[in-house]
Amino acid sequence: GQQVMQIPQYQHVQEGEDFTTYCNSSTTLSNIQWYKQRPGGHPVFLIQLVKSGEVKKQKRLTFQFGEAKKNSSLHITATQTTDVGTYFCAGPFNQAGTALIFGKGTTLSVSS
């Protein structure tokens, strides 16, 4: 089946610094989704990218989908303590796209 790899596993930043997490697949993805899980919480959908080279922004968050549709990134500008949590990318489990598989996630901690 498909696999999505995510790096880094952990990242600690000072409040105000930028943060980036990367997601890679060995195969072309029809789409990629990003989720955020706060400590003790459940994953919550952030965004879906579908088009090659697509870039979407949500306030301080910028999401990119690679030209080859094999990689993606999430960049947070000027992190805040509210950004703390684990960020997951997710891609199709199979060609039919009947389920999602998740990367192992990047856990972000922020100190003020």
Binding site: G1, Q6, Q9, S30, N31, Q33, Y35, H42, P43, V44, F45, Q48, F88, A90, P92, F93, A96, G97, T98, A99, L100, I101, F102, G103, K104, G105
Partner: protein, 112 residues
């Protein structure tokens, strides 16, 4: 209230016992999923269902059984629990297999 609910939230069981985790959604989503979350492994897909009476294996199905007699319910059964099945289990649903997934609050299962 509309949403997806899991029960119980916490469960301790003994090795060898059968335990069933419940999941109920009120959106009439066609797709439902079970994931387990373990430190260092992220979210791993156990089973998924595209509709009532249609279920398929995910990444880690061994030791688990699912059924889906009604669209809104998707119970997960551990027929003979093992310590390696100690985990946090998340149920999720989505309109299609490839769109935004909505997660329940999770069930923390401990097998002793």
């Amino acid at each position: 209230d509309a949403g997806i609910t899991q029960s119980p939230r916490y469960k301790i069981t003994e090795t060898g016992r059968q335990v069933t985790l419940m999941c109920h959604q009120t959106w009439s989503h066609s797709y439902m999923f079970w994931y387990r979350q373990d430190l260092g492994h992220g979210l791993r897909l156990i089973y998924y269902s595209a509709a009532a009476d249609i279920t398929d294996k995910g990444e880690v199905p061994d030791g688990y059984v699912v059924s889906r007699s009604k669209t809104e319910n998707f119970p997960l059964t551990l027929e003979s629990a093992t310590r390696s099945q100690t985990s946090v289990y998340f149920c999720a649903s989505s309109a299609t297999g490839n769109t935004e997934a909505f997660f329940g609050q999770g069930t923390r299962l401990t097998v002793v």
